[in-house]
Symmetry: C2
Subunit: 347 residues, 2 copies
């Protein structure tokens, strides 16, 4: 039972020094054709593979990226995780996952634990870390990218959709569609995504001389969204909105269910429903949700690029906020404005 095969054993078998073995397995290093061959042969026979941990210890690079994520219920996150993990693997990195509740203390604890693993970088998804912790990471030389959360003045890179612009465009779409009583169901108010989408939406309405007709809070939670929808729509007809923008798709499904099955309303005949994310179920015909698409693959690419740049050029890359344009995906859950330009909201 050859428990652990070390480079030394390979070296002996190949009749070279241990460092020769190391060089053969180190991408940037130089070794002669002959040596390489001998070493590879011996390694093959012994079943040798370099120990990533030992390599990480001495080189100072673990090739591990820590991912802090609060919950995977909203399908946007597993999607992003899959893309992220694949993208990082292509660069020779792997993802160490830290699940955390959304309470700030827990997030900080998770990040501390991550740091203990000497990760080369950290991605936080759907959570915000304290400025204290951020400082620690910077001090430890570990780049941080916040995915899908914007946090001003924290000196870390944030990658988001252009949520303000998305909200604004959605307002234009609804007003152009002839809606008059336009409502909003908010996500968790601590989230930048929520804030920016709402701010953009309100700005867009204002530009068109409209104002929010009603507003409830769903906290990005299905049950709360359903309740919010009930409060908002279980009222006399004249007080009922004719359109509602829900802060994300995940809540919108619950809202549509409540409207149709709970209150017997028709979507979009009685009320238009639109949202934000474009997760897979939005395209399912039972929902067929008109929504702003978060381009997860682009967001991930920016995340990985930012991370790699900071890892490869420590200290010399200025953190910045990257906002990806979110295109409007027009489906069937909202009345479509007449003459709505074809190129402006294609599936």
């Amino acid at each position: 039972m050859p428990d652990k095969v070390t480079s030394l054993q390979v070296a002996e078998r190949a009749g070279v020094s241990q460092s020769a073995v190391s060089r053969v397995f180190t991408p940037g290093a130089s070794a002669s054709q002959k040596t390489a061959e001998k070493v590879r042969k011996a390694a093959e026979e012994l079943g040798y593979r370099p120990n990533s941990l030992a390599r990480a210890m001495v080189s100072g690079r673990s090739r591990i990226i820590g991912l802090v994520v609060a919950y995977l219920e909203n399908h946007f996150y597993p999607d992003a995780l899959e893309i992220l993990s694949n993208a990082l693997q292509e660069q020779g990195y792997h993802v160490l996952v830290f699940m955390t509740s959304r309470r700030p203390g827990n997030i900080d604890d998770a990040v501390e634990e991550i740091l203990d693993y000497q990760v080369d970088g950290i991605v936080t998804a759907s959570v915000s870390m304290s400025s204290d912790l951020t400082r620690r990471c910077i001090q430890a030389g570990v780049p941080v990218v916040q995915f899908n959360r914007l946090q001003e003045g924290l000196d870390i890179t944030c990658v988001t959709s252009d949520n303000f612009d998305g909200g604004r465009e959605m307002a234009q779409f609804l007003v152009a569609g002839g809606h008059e009583k336009i409502a909003y169901i908010a996500g968790w108010e601590g989230a930048s995504t929520q804030r920016d989408r709402e701010a953009g939406f309100r700005a867009g309405l204002a530009e068109q001389d409209h104002a929010l007709f009603a507003r409830e809070v769903g906290n990005f939670d299905s049950d709360q969204a359903r309740l919010a929808a009930n409060v908002m729509f279980n009222v006399p007809v004249e007080k009922r909105p004719d359109a509602v923008f829900v802060a994300n798709d995940h809540m919108a499904f619950a809202v549509m269910d409540e409207l149709r099955f709970g209150l017997g309303l028709k979507v979009p005949a009685d009320v238009s429903v639109v949202a934000f994310d474009d997760v897979p179920p939005s395209a399912w015909r039972a929902y067929n949700l008109t929504t702003m698409r978060q381009r997860a693959n682009l967001m991930v690419r920016e995340t990985v690029d930012a991370l790699m740049a900071q890892i490869d050029h420590p200290g010399s890359i200025r953190p910045r906020n990257i906002a990806i344009k979110a295109p409007l995906i027009v489906r069937g859950s909202a009345r479509v404005p007449e003459n709505w330009p074809h190129d402006k909201g294609q599936q």
Copy 2:
């Protein structure tokens, strides 16, 4: 800029030896009250935290569990991942994620890479590894648990639902509901879940003197499932099944969409649809899917228990297959048998 704080620096500041510091931070070790206090104080002031990698190197335990997973589209997997990650964190372990395509070669590569990180254990979800690789893991002393896949004669622990029994119970349910023309839409035929569900379903039908009326393959893929449904149901009425068991929920949504919106059929009036998994969207009222519930939390608990047992008692734990009973969740997508016992299929 105190880049990396080491135990040596803490030792100097506390006026003790480096090994004293180590002992204070090592759970099982012994140190006097006084020493511990001094050390903790110094560590606090310096912002010291033990380096997990160095600890792993010398102790031989990384407290990392490798997770190999092929795709997260089916919501069962993110669900399971979230539960798994939380459960392992409670035990002081963390999850290193390896995404892989389902091609066997890639899976083996992923597992090799995992091994390089000196993981203490491996969980494979929705994928099967080669017997060669399995041997390597065992030889390396790394326990492997297959999650949601059964692989006979491989000497590793497998945790699944009791898929055969679940399929069988579903057959009883449909026959009891008075269905006569009962069809099946299969998942990927290389998967044990698919095979066992179908085998159980057929066995259950046979027991009731029924046989499969029609069968198509959806490969656990939405689009293929939709196509399969179309092929199966876009036929003269007399050739149309009156019930269909879909191998998982993920496909069932596409099937229901095709039936209702593509072909204009009513569910369950024209055709009953049932499936397997009970992922979150199954409870959404637009689908309201009758399905066999995979109890992800129980499955994860067994997975973690098996892993921990094998880590703590290397070589002395016999691998075994663990099958969790899947309860029938009766909702509205299938005709319910009269007098169907209340206790036998409660939400």
